[in-house]
Amino acid sequence: MDFVFKNKRISGILTILPRKAIKFEDEIENYSFSPAKCMKLKLAMGYKEHRIAEPGQTSVDFAIHGLQYLFDNGMLQKDEIDAILFVSQSPDYIMPPSSNIIQGHFGIKQDCLCLDINQGCAGFEIGLIQSFLLLDQPSINKVVLINAEVLSSRTSKRDRNSWPLAGDAAAITIVEKTNDNLTIYANVKTDGTNAFALNIPAGGFRMPSNAETAVMEQDEAGNWRCKDNLVMKGDDVFNFVQREVPPMIEHLYVQSGVDRNEVDWYMFHQPNKFMLHKLADKLGIPHEKMPANIVENFGNASGVTVPTCISYNLGDQLVNGKMRLCLAGFGVGLTWSSIMMEMGNMNFNKIIEF
């Protein structure tokens, strides 16, 4: 499904990372691999360091910390927020919505649309598309898009498919109307028939968490996890990404009329370095234009990886200048989405810690 938007812009991105950093070498004993094999994997997959929230720190805590920073520093005014979108798979509660909790916490005006969206790896793109759609309304001029995840607490440390790459983080993206004559091109695809390629079996109404769902079990590959933990069918996800993402980006070139060489940066979701390099090679894009350093340095925080990639790699370059970016997210759902847009002259684009 294709989308076209006009006169919308991203005016700021603030990424919030946990202070706690864990090195891959410090956890090797969890994975029952030889040290030599671990080192080879470290190089190929980009296992270096990941940021993990402290016990008790929630996705809403990260969002509140970031918003407080923006308010305290005059980077955002409460009364100009017309909508809060909260995209996460690790909300504080099943009920009420996290976006409502945040609106209430800050006493943001009641004329404010609050919406929680359950999306993962494509959560930044889905959140942006929803923000652009809302901004077509006369009553909505500024949307606060929050992507936040603390999924590490639902990931088994003895699951070598998932834990070495697990990461927690949040990002607050300000999306607003502009008079600049900019056109944004986007697309989304969905395949719910493979929804369980990435899943957490227990904890919802279908299988409530209890003592049985907390029992650790070993899978065929030697990973230990319980039904409360995240399950990633790595081979299925890898094949899905290699099969579906290149044609999606090729379609985006046609849709937007932008040649691959006219794109300054490819800011893609960060599943692992190996997968990103394979995508870049398939698309004929130099590795330097598609950074893989977020998963390497901070871990994969699902929908937060793309805004983190933008903040970490471009920072003030997007405050002082303009660039053409191709964004892409792919994973949980299965959902895959991409956006071609110019970004720049932003009010802020930075990372803080919590």
Partner: protein
């Protein structure tokens, strides 16, 4: 090329004998998906190629012959 592939495999999993005939490396548990990632990374670097992501499936890594065929497909002589 065959000898070089065996050398890379042996460095990856020194506990196995990759010269034995008739083995299926995947079914025998000699290579898992993580080994395949490391192997592809090594082959890409050594031969200056990039094996297509769609070709990274177990059937292409189940024997020395299948790996050699994959290299030939990628222009390695």
């Amino acid at each position: 090329m065959k000898e070089q592939v065996i050398k890379i495999l042996t460095e990856l999993r020194p506990e196995f004998d990759f010269t034995k005939e008739g083995l299926n490396f995947i079914e025998e548990g000699m290579l898992d998906s993580f080994d395949i990632v490391s192997l592809v990374n090594e082959l890409d670097n050594q031969y200056g190629i990039s094996i297509d992501g769609l070709d990274i499936v177990p059937d292409n890594f189940c024997s020395v012959e299948s790996i050699v065929a994959l290299l030939i497909k990628n222009g390695v002589k």
